[in-house]
């Protein structure tokens, strides 16, 4: 497989997700979070939050709420079993809390190969906005595709 550079700049469908207290508590449980500010509304409000704060990495999951979140990779000809997450970054502009309706707008920012095509890299950037229009965060993901053998 070899990724065509013409995909650079492709906008992927935006995904909207409401930050839900129950889901945030489930996430806290899954990551072993014990800080009550993430699970207890009173503790969150005592710390100055409008509602339970969204943990720093939870925003990554917004795009995964679409019915077939990896379809964009399949559409590029990528075998999901050969995918590794290479890098992830977040730049935060304001704190999201439970009740916020957030939209992630992803875009394929770059594709490139290394090691003679044995490794391919896909860079995706996403802007997350609140329904008021405020930018909450910008995310960049680098996805690595390990090809079983060099392309012809």
């Amino acid at each position: 497989m070899s990724l065509n550079p013409s995909v650079i700049g492709t906008q992927l469908p935006p995904i909207t997700m409401t930050m839900d207290r129950g889901r945030l508590r489930f996430f806290a449980k899954a990551i072993g979070e014990t800080n009550p500010v993430f699970t207890d509304l009173q503790a969150a409000q005592a710390a100055g939050h409008r509602d339970l704060p969204v943990p720093p990495t939870f925003l990554f999951g917004i795009e995964l709420e679409s019915p077939d979140p990896f379809a964009w990779l399949s559409d590029l000809g990528v075998d999901l079993r050969r995918v590794l997450h290479g890098e992830q970054s977040f730049t935060y502009h304001c704190q999201a809390v439970a009740g916020d309706v957030l939209t992630a707008s992803p875009r394929i920012a770059n594709v490139y190969t290394k090691k003679g095509g044995a490794l391919e890299f896909i860079e995706k950037t996403s802007v997350v906005t609140r329904d008021s229009g405020d930018v909450v965060a910008e995310l960049t993901s680098v996805i690595v595709v390990r090809n079983p053998e060099p392309p012809q």
């Binding site: 990551i31 720093p56 917004i62 997450h85 992830q88």
Partner: protein
């Protein structure tokens, strides 16, 4: 713990160690994070790709490092947070997240610390390195 506002270069955040990462952990994280990639939860799919077993989501380790940060500062103080995933985290691994202030500066009238971050396994494998910028 050192008051956040008084923290200086060289300050190390109290390390955060996890219990061994179990299949249950991965199942819960898949559901809670929304990442249902079967490579993390279905041994049949992992083996079809030539692996012996499932392995942990990189974002689980990033979430552990996030806990390290938010144990120290309020989440709204985090300005930037980025990592590079350097190695796969196998099942049953025990991860330890660490962080250290490497620079302090002023940006937009705000005092900010840059932290160097890492997650390591018991055998010394460094699975993740990164950095964060937080307002003090």
């Amino acid at each position: 713990m050192t008051a956040v506002s008084a923290a200086d270069v060289g300050f190390e955040l109290p390390a955060l160690s996890t219990a061994p990462i179990s299949r249950t952990t991965l199942a819960l994280f898949a559901g809670a994070s929304g990442d249902h990639n079967p490579m993390h939860i279905d041994i049949d799919v992992a083996q079809s790709a030539g692996l012996e077993d499932v392995f942990a989501h990189g974002m689980l380790s990033m979430a552990y490092l996030g806990r390290l940060l938010t144990n120290w500062v309020d989440p709204q103080s985090i300005r930037e947070y980025r990592v590079r995933f350097a190695a796969i985290t196998p099942l049953h691994a025990e991860a330890t997240a660490t962080g250290r202030i490497v620079a302090i500066g002023e940006v937009d009238g705000e005092r900010r610390a840059t932290l160097e971050l890492a997650v390591s396994l018991a055998d010394g494998t460094r699975t993740l390195t990164g950095d964060a910028v937080v307002a003090l």
